[in-house]
């Protein structure tokens, strides 16, 4: 199992956290552009799917929340939308069926939300805990 990226977005699409574990060569796009593309892609995909299959649970306002997984030939994007509309994403190798993004959300609540931190959380203990979780997944 290979984990390529962990990304966390707020409901407006800003990147709150990102970690990349790319084997060489890394993607050629600048990281910020790629992150915007990923969020926009998930938003459009979720909106389109909601048009075709209106969700039975109307309490969730974000279209992204309907998308769970996008499988490509050589990678899989897993998505988890929290009840507070934060979006947790992980790019993995294609054989991975499920990633425990809820576990990373638990760590987020413990370290970021409970401490009242706002904005990006790079360079904090949250990043170390996420890397620890990723190592146990491999």
């Amino acid at each position: 199992m290979t984990v390529y990226d962990i990304l966390i977005f707020n409901p407006q699409g800003s990147t709150l956290f990102s970690r990349s574990f790319h084997p060489s060569p890394p993607p050629t796009q600048p990281p910020s552009e790629r992150q915007k593309l990923i969020f926009g892609m998930l938003f459009s995909l979720g909106s389109t799917l909601n048009d075709l299959h209106p969700p039975s649970d109307t309490s969730s306002p974000s279209p992204i929340s309907s998308v769970k997984r996008v499988c490509l030939p050589n990678a899989t994007l897993h998505a988890y939308t929290t009840p507070t509309s934060l979006l947790f994403c992980a790019f993995t190798s294609p054989e991975v069926q499920r990633v425990r993004l809820e576990e990373i959300w638990d760590v987020w609540v413990e370290i970021v939300s409970m401490c009242g931190m706002e904005g990006e959380v790079e360079g904090t203990r949250f990043g170390e805990r996420v890397e620890g979780i990723i190592k146990t997944m491999r």
């Binding site: 593309l37 990923i38 995909l45 769970k68 490509l72 030939p73």
Partner: protein, 142 residues
């Protein structure tokens, strides 16, 4: 008899324009989509296939193949000629391989009932009920 509840079939041309759409679920259980809605959805899915390819961490990766969403699953098949076949299913019983085989059979039916129609031209919207009946029969079998 199929245990999968298929909902939509969409087919786009090489340029991304929608050339065929079919609702496979009863009208009472599907939203009322207009022709313009289908056109918009078809072109959006075509663009998203290209965008997902750019998002991939693996250089040169293909675009989206399967999308799992809250209500079910969507399977995408791109042909060697650049057309895109999109099949959506609702419920947890939709297996990826089953949907892939279903799309392959639908592509064969497209070749038989649309391409071989002497009045049809490449990239032209397809009309006619015979292909639609064949699609429904294929979905029943898978």
């Amino acid at each position: 008899m199929s245990s999968t509840s298929y909902t939509y079939l969409l087919i786009t041309s090489r340029s991304g324009s929608l050339i065929y759409h079919l609702s496979l679920s009863p009208p009472s259980s599907s939203p009322a989509l207009t022709t313009n809605d289908y056109l918009r959805i078809g072109s959006t899915l075509h663009s998203l296939k290209a965008i997902t390819s750019q998002c991939s961490p693996v250089p040169g990766d293909g675009g989206m193949r399967t999308v799992d969403f809250g209500e079910g699953r969507m399977r995408v098949m791109q042909t060697e000629t650049g057309m895109m076949f999109v099949l959506a299913a609702r419920g947890g019983g939709a297996q990826d391989q089953t949907m892939a085989h279903c799309l392959t059979d639908i592509y064969a039916a497209w070749a038989d009932w649309v391409v071989k129609n002497p009045f049809w031209e490449v990239d032209m919207p397809a009309r006619g009920s015979r292909f639609g009946e064949e699609v429904k029969a294929i979905c029943q079998r898978h």
